[in-house]
């Protein structure tokens, strides 16, 4: 089951890559991209580890969870993008004022 753990580790890597970009970059669009990549990482962990069933088809429950997660992610992305556009309209640039590195 090398493949399973390979993809799961890629998922962990994506989560951390996204987290780094989320914290370090100020541009809102980039933060939104970072969120989506982090989400993708978590989904990879969920689905990859679902394939640890021996010989039979993979566990369908994580697949359903990930489909739910994808829809939630697109909903959040849509709201975030619209909010970003409004912030940019008000403040003139697509970054939050007094951005503090947390």
């Amino acid at each position: 089951m090398n493949m399973v753990f390979l993809y799961a580790l890629v998922g962990v890597g994506l989560f951390c890559l996204g987290l780094h970009a989320l914290i370090m970059h100020a541009h809102l669009l980039r933060k939104i991209l970072a969120f989506n990549i982090m989400g993708g990482g978590v989904f990879l962990v969920l689905v990859a580890l679902a394939k640890r069933t021996e010989e039979v088809a993979p566990d369908p429950v994580p697949h359903a969870m990930v489909i739910t997660g994808i829809v939630v992610a697109v909903s959040a992305t849509a709201l975030a993008l619209k909010l970003m556009l409004k912030v940019s309209e008000e403040t003139g640039n697509a970054e939050l004022p007094d951005e503090r590195r947390e």
Partner: protein, 487 residues
């Protein structure tokens, strides 16, 4: 009558009602105020019915779809969830009445569907016994809260909402990662089943770290509180009330549940001490910052940061005094919900009255808006922790535990916190008596809005007398005995 009561799944109704109500308000914006009030009243009635059901029949567990965990999702209500549902319904009802006067078109028809769906998310959250389901409710709640925060549309509100959205999404994502690890470690996402299967292996520590970090961020524990003051201060007043009173408590509730049922039994003294430390820091930092504010809503928001610290201070105390300390925490949470929402509604009245919320420019408020000033003062009594009030009972229980355990740091912080709270409350009240440097023409504040604030403030005080009712209710189903939850 008894048969009717016990057959009806009141918990399910609590979730379906606001969902249906919110969708109806979306479809018929013209009658959204009426629909909203009807829905919220029906929710209040259902919570009362659920209370009777749980009191008589014990803990309420509903297996959705008939499948039962681990395959299906379960709804679960014990004393703790019941109290959270009750406070949600009560604060929700009063805030709704306030909102009918506060919002004019076009904001009003946008507000009601968002608000009702937020209520649905809160109810679903407090009733859920499944951690993936909790993730979905957290997301629903978060998106609704963000949309409501941005409703007033100014630059501050939009930036505050954006920062809030980023924080809440990060918290949810970390939480989801934890859910994924727990599922793959133990084959279920049901809290009761996980509680039985969990052991001290690396996957659990990873899940604890992730879920803990995510929930702590959502609960604005110092130093992750940066998103709260701008969001709560720039939202419309009734939204600020709900955010500080309910939304921020919801993620704390999940943290508490996971701690009591899954992670606590593993013996995590380091985490408990860390929470205690950060809680103390939150109380001191939040109170000092509140004292420094020149705008009323920011002051109240920083006060929320401080009050949330008290909730976390209970963790190190709970190692020895378990249930007593958790009773204190829940008492503090529900009293704060009443008092803080009263304060934000009062601030909303002052904003409506004077067009601004600068503390120094409060112009003879006591003379001209006595009900609002009174509401603020009464709410302040609970926040400071003076008797008689719900806040006093909560702090007293915490103090008692800290004294018996000789945890002097916590005792000092408790006393200091109350002193600082008294300082900023009296600062505001002081300005309310005086004439402002530049007096302005007052605008009338609708009677409904003033009395809504007063009602909630009185509720916070009344809680001080209701310990004989509240404390036993809290303990239905023994939520605070670690590991007692049975599937």
């Amino acid at each position: 009558m008894e048969i009717v009561f016990s057959d009806v799944p009141w918990g399910v109704i609590l979730i379906l009602l606001p969902l249906a109500g919110g969708m109806a308000c979306f479809l018929w914006p013209a009658i959204s105020k009426l629909l909203g009030l009807v829905t919220v009243s029906a929710i209040a009635v259902s919570v009362v019915a659920l209370f009777f059901q749980v009191r008589d029949a014990g803990v309420y567990r509903h297996t959705i779809g008939g499948w039962g965990a681990p395959l299906g999702i379960d709804l679960y209500a014990d004393g703790l969830s019941l109290l959270m549902l009750a406070i949600t319904a009560l604060v929700g009802l009063v805030v709704s009445i306030y909102s009918t006067s506060y919002f004019a078109e076009p904001l009003s028809s946008r507000y009601w569907p968002l608000w009702l769906l937020l209520l649905a998310a809160l109810n679903a959250l407090f009733l859920s016994a499944d951690i993936f389901n909790l993730y979905v409710t957290l997301e629903l709640m978060g998106l609704a809260a963000v949309a409501l925060t941005a409703l007033s549309g100014g630059g501050d509100a939009l930036s505050g909402a954006m920062r809030y959205l980023l924080a809440t999404l990060l918290g949810s994502l970390a939480f989801l990662f934890g859910v994924a690890l727990l599922y793959h470690g133990f084959g279920s996402v049901d809290i009761a089943i996980l509680g039985q299967r969990v052991e001290a292996i690396p996957i659990v520590w990873a899940a604890l770290g992730l879920m803990g970090a995510g929930l702590v961020l959502k609960s604005a524990l110092f130093p992750f509180h940066f998103w709260l003051p701008p969001a709560h201060a720039s939202a419309p007043a009734p939204v600020s009330a709900v955010l500080s009173a309910l939304v921020v408590k919801a993620s704390f509730y999940i943290l508490l549940r996971l701690y009591l049922d899954i992670f606590g039994p593993l013996g995590i003294e380091g985490v408990e001490s860390l929470f205690g430390l950060l809680g103390c820091a939150a109380v001191v930092w939040g109170s000092v910052q509140a004292l420094r504010q020149t705008r009323l809503k920011l002051l109240i928001a920083y006060s929320t940061v401080a009050q949330l610290g008290y909730l976390f201070m209970a963790f190190p105390l709970s190692i020895i005094s378990g249930p007593a300390v958790w009773s204190a925490v829940v008492y503090l949470a529900i009293s704060h919900a009443m008092a803080k929402s009263a304060m934000f509604l009062a601030a909303g009245n002052l904003l409506c009255f004077g067009g601004h919320d600068r503390i120094a420019d409060m112009d003879r408020v006591v003379q001209r808006l006595p009900v609002t000033a009174g509401a603020f003062a009464l709410a302040g009594v609970s926040i400071i922790g003076l008797p008689p009030s719900g806040g006093f009972i909560g702090k007293w229980l915490l103090l008692e535990s800290a004294l018996t355990q000789e945890n002097w740091y916590i005792v000092i912080v408790l006393i200091l916190g109350s002193l600082l709270a008294a300082a900023y409350i009296f600062k505001v009240l002081g300005y309310c008596f005086t004439k402002a440097a530049s007096p302005h023409e007052p605008r009338t504040v609708p009677v409904r809005m003033e009395w809504a604030a007063m009602l909630l403030a009185c509720g916070a005080i009344l809680l001080g007398f209701m310990a004989p009712v509240v404390l036993p209710t809290m303990n239905i189903g023994d939520p605070f005995i670690i590991g007692a939850v049975l599937p």
